[in-house]
């Protein structure tokens, strides 16, 4: 009996449940899909080469899923409370008819379970579909053969989803039962007549609040720009965050009062058609619900920002990767710190001895010691990076007349405090030959510039076109006006920042005064016929043969010597590529996941509010129709209200996002040469689809409520 009643109730109030159901459905869908990523077929492939990465992706997804579960849980509880409040009169009638409070609570619980279970089932089905789509997308991202695709149902994700939503429903069910059984019959029955008191604020307080909010937000933006978003532990960042929160709250609490005040004073604009009604309606909504609008605004801000920044970072990664993997393997030995600390004195001594013994060639060092190396490596090119402490980046910029302060670099860049990197032209050309590029011809007494980073592009151009002379290692050099772009090692992000390419005799001079280069890099190509999957292992074997491990190395888990010339660390192109793609995939999925969930949450909070407000306002629409408003006028007012109610928090959130993107663009994207256009247009896309979708569904539901309540004759 109770079950039948519950089923009938759900069916009858299908419209109330629509938005709730859709939101749950979407929540379950993405929750499953993103939690299942680690179990997909593709990942078993990636797992073989890089098990850490798959574990990382799974951990990160699980971590953020807890946050997502909290947001969804809040959402379910919130929408459910709204539905319950709307049905108080009906529940009161059940009590009046002699049903026990326990039975009424039972009906409500059954209804919750019914909607919950059906959305869980449908959401899981959609989630399985979505996870396969994600799998296809990531397979093409990794350029994997699509024919290796196999359908996978992730039991981990299934378990997590069911557990998470079961907990949410149980909590909601308990809350509902408490709410119903606590209610007195009288309050349940009188719930319908309690009309909403209109919250009105004066124009002057609103205006003051508004000005204060704009000032706070402007100051917050300025702090954010100063912070540059590069250091989130900076006090400026926390201050900017706090100011943004307070400023946004003041903004949403005052904007309606101010707009009403201003528009009322311009009568020509005001007294036209239903505009006074529409505006008052909206203002009263905004004024009574400004706290939830504020929360919606914050949700939107986080959603759009994390999505666009994530997409931006992911496009940075993909554009840089190809350039960073021109060699098969890089063996790197940084030595700039050897001179600074006493504990490294023996390492410096050691390096000098090894360098002299192998004629300054790391390739020789390995080749004479390792048979595996001789089989594995066909070609190599070494590049030693030197610096002249007398020519710091700051001094260089000053000499060539480059204004760092107004550039993207900023006056505090690390680069400016240390000696400019210098490499010999013959080593550069050997490296270029290895990556298949033509050599650079450098006349005696001149220099060229190598730069791969957009951040230092301006400086490099200035140095390259400088007409005077630079003193490097005691030698006066003029610019050959050549600016080249050549990476010097395997890397995810090319990091060559304004390196001076000088004649070899300058390097000899630096060697005489400095002794050791800052960093020594050996780039290699594998011999033909080396199996790419084996190369990594073979390289480790070569290292072990050439560099017997010390006790310290063994303790730290290396089975070869490290931390000394010629090897501190090594990167292969294939592992770099896998890592970068894995990282890119992680960032992309996370951006999609968070962006989607936060937009859905924001959209559904507004939808639920707008729907219930429309139900409460049906009497007003009836009055309007009786006074002779046309159907077009009435529904137009509903449309304008819904549209503006959705747009106010969005506009504010987008302002914040624009500020963040602008700062990010200045400090990160443009430095890496990535256009913000792609992430921004993707963000616009997701907002239009998800948030716009909620807006559209809400308008259609609201308009159906009004049309249904007024009937075709009244609403002519």
């Amino acid at each position: 009996m109770l079950a039948r009643l519950a089923v009938r109730n759900v069916r009858r109030s299908a419209r109330d449940y629509t938005i709730y159901f859709v939101t749950l459905l979407l929540g379950v869908m993405v929750f499953y899909a993103f939690n299942s990523i680690a179990d997909q077929r593709l990942m078993t492939d990636v797992n073989a080469s890089n098990p850490d990465m798959v574990a990382t992706i799974d951990r990160v997804m699980a971590f953020f899923s807890v946050a997502v579960a909290c947001v969804l849980g809040f959402l379910v509880a919130y929408s459910n409370r709204f539905i319950l409040r709307r049905r108080k009169h009906e529940l009161g009638t059940y009590l009046l008819l002699g049903m026990k409070a326990r039975q009424v609570a039972g009906i409500v619980l059954l209804e919750t379970a019914l909607v919950g279970l059906s959305s869980l089932a449908a959401g899981l089905a959609l989630g399985v579909v979505l996870s396969q789509l994600l799998c296809f997308a990531s397979m093409s991202m990794f350029s994997l053969d699509l024919s290796s695709y196999r359908f996978v149902l992730s039991s981990t994700a299934l378990g997590r989803t069911v557990l998470c939503f079961a907990v949410i429903f149980v909590v909601v069910g308990v809350l509902n039962v408490i709410e119903v059984s606590r209610c007195r019959l009288a309050t349940l029955l009188s719930a319908r007549s309690a009309s909403e008191r209109v919250g009105v604020r004066g124009v002057l307080p609103s205006a003051l609040c508004f000005v204060a909010s704009v000032a706070l937000l402007a100051y917050a933006y300025r702090l954010l720009a100063l912070n540059g978003l590069l250091d989130v532990t900076d006090a400026k960042f926390s201050a900017a965050t706090a100011l943004m929160l307070v400023g946004s709250l003041l903004f949403v609490s005052s904007v309606a009062g101010l707009v009403v005040g201003i528009v009322r004073r311009t009568r020509g604009l005001y007294l036209r058609g239903l505009s006074p009604f529409t505006m008052r309606q909206l203002a009263s909504r905004i004024n009574t619900a400004f706290v939830s609008l504020w929360i919606v605004c914050v949700l939107l801000f986080f959603g759009v920002t994390s999505f666009s920044v994530g997409m931006g970072v992911s496009s940075v990664l993909s554009s840089a990767l190809e350039e960073g993997t021109q060699f098969d393997h890089s063996i790197v030995a940084p030595m700039f710190h050897f001179a600074d600390l006493d504990q490294y004195t023996d390492r410096a001594q050691d390096a000098r001895e090894r360098l002299d013994a192998s004629n300054w060639s790391a390739a020789d060092y390995f080749a004479t010691r390792s048979a595996t190396w001789r089989e594995l490596v066909s070609q190599s090119a070494q590049v030693d990076i030197w610096s002249d402490p007398d020519l710091t980046g700051g001094k260089l910029a000053q000499t060539v007349g480059y204004d760092v302060e107004s550039s993207a670099l900023g006056k505090d860049a690390t680069l400016l405090r240390y000696g400019v990197s210098v490499i010999g032209v013959s080593q550069l050309n050997a490296t270029r030959a290895l990556s298949g590029h033509p050599p650079v011809t450098l006349p005696a007494g001149t220099y060229a510039v190598d730069n791969c980073l957009d951040l230092t592009k301006g400086l490099s151009e200035a140095v390259s076109s400088y007409g005077g002379t630079l003193r490097v290692g005691g030698v006066e050099l003029r610019s050959s006006r050549q600016l080249v772009r050549q990476v010097l090692r395997v890397t995810q992000l090319p990091d060559v920042q304004c390196v001076l390419v000088v004649p070899d005799d300058v390097i000899d001079a630096l060697r005489a005064t400095r002794g050791l280069p800052d960093t020594s890099i050996l780039n290699v190509r594998y011999a033909d016929g080396v199996d790419a999957d084996q190369a990594e292992a073979l390289m480790e074997k070569a290292f072990a043969e050439a560099l017997p491990p010390s006790e310290e190395d063994l303790r730290e888990g290396y089975d070869y010597g490290t931390g000394r010339w010629p090897l501190s660390f090594a990167d292969s192109a294939s592992s770099t590529r896998t890592e970068a793609l894995g990282f890119k995939m992680l960032i992309t999925f996370l951006a999609l996941y968070l962006g989607f969930v936060l937009l859905v949450s924001a959209g559904s909070v507004l939808a639920v509010q707008q729907l219930s407000s429309t139900v409460d306002s049906v009497g007003r629409y009836r009055t309007l129709a009786q006074l002779g408003c046309t159907r077009r006028q009435v529904l137009g007012s509903v449309r304008t209200q819904t549209l503006l109610y959705f747009l106010v928090p969005l506009a504010l959130a987008l302002c914040h996002t624009a500020c963040v993107i602008w700062v990010m663009n200045r400090n990160l994207f443009s430095a890496l040469g990535v256009s913000p256009l792609v992430p921004v247009s993707l963000a616009v896309g997701i907002v239009v689809v998800v948030y716009g979708g909620y807006l559209l569904v809400t308008y259609l539901c609201c308009s159906a409520i009004v049309r249904g309540a007024l009937g075709r004759r009244l609403l002519a």
Binding site: V198, R267, L271, R272, R280, L624, G628, R631, A716
Partner: protein, 236 residues
């Protein structure tokens, strides 16, 4: 399907103030709703200044309501989110009146109905009587051909009811408005010129004020009410 009104013929002259009385379920509200084009008739016609309103469709219905009718409801039906001024102005703005004309016209009517001091207040800040007079102002500000009042005193105390009825009388006398008022209250009906009684969906009787004073007219209305069986005295 039950028939609410049948074989009912009623003529209201231009500028006349008519009350409609009858027991609960007699069809008096249906009559008003049919005239107001809110309910549709299955047969027959309702003519207002020669125009058959039962034939109006779609946008014509809305135009008819906003151009020709003024409404006063039992519970005022003011829009709670709008001030008194805005509620009265609403009747003009939805007609598309020029914004510069609206202010003066609202104030003229408000002055006449004694609601000047509540124009800047919201409905919940007004008394029941004030709300109802603002509703009356909204009904007449557009100078409609016909003012329809559905139990306008139903939710008022006797003093407020009296003030409102005098207001209606004033509107009728000064502006020459045609008023059709549905009421169950013989006292309210005694402010009109003619009272028609409806029973079981058809015209039962009518009482004309004529040259009588209000007291005499009231007495004659009461006679019909008691004849109808007291049913009318306790409906609400």
């Amino acid at each position: 399907m039950t028939t609410a009104l049948n074989d009912l013929s009623l003529t209201v002259r231009d500028g006349e103030f008519v009350s409609v009385m009858g027991p609960s379920g007699s069809g008096k509200s249906t009559l008003l709703n049919c005239v107001a084009t809110i309910d549709a008739v299955t047969s027959g016609s309702i003519r207002l200044a020669g125009e058959d309103v039962t034939r109006l469709r779609g946008r014509e219905l809305a135009r008819f309501r906003r151009e020709r009718l003024g409404f006063i409801f039992q519970d005022a039906n003011l829009v709670e989110t709008l001030t008194g001024f805005e509620n009265v102005a609403l009747a003009l703005t939805i007609k598309g009146s020029r914004p510069v004309e609206i202010g003066p016209r609202v104030r003229v009517v408000a002055e006449r109905l004694g609601v000047m001091d509540v124009l800047d207040k919201y409905p919940h800040q007004m008394s029941g009587g004030q709300r109802q007079r603002v509703a009356a102002a909204r009904a007449v500000v557009g100078a409609p051909s016909l003012v329809l009042a559905d139990e306008p005193t139903g939710s008022l105390d006797s003093k407020s009811a009296r003030v409102l009825l005098e207001t209606l009388e004033k509107i009728h006398r000064n502006a020459g408005a045609t008023i059709m008022m549905v009421t169950h209250d013989a006292y309210a009906a005694s402010f009109s010129q003619r009272t028609v009684f409806i029973k079981d969906g058809t015209l039962f009787n009518e009482v004309v004020c004529g040259t009588d004073d209000r007291k005499g007219y009231f007495g004659r209305i009461m006679e019909v009410v008691s004849f109808l069986g007291g049913g009318a005295s306790h409906v609400g």
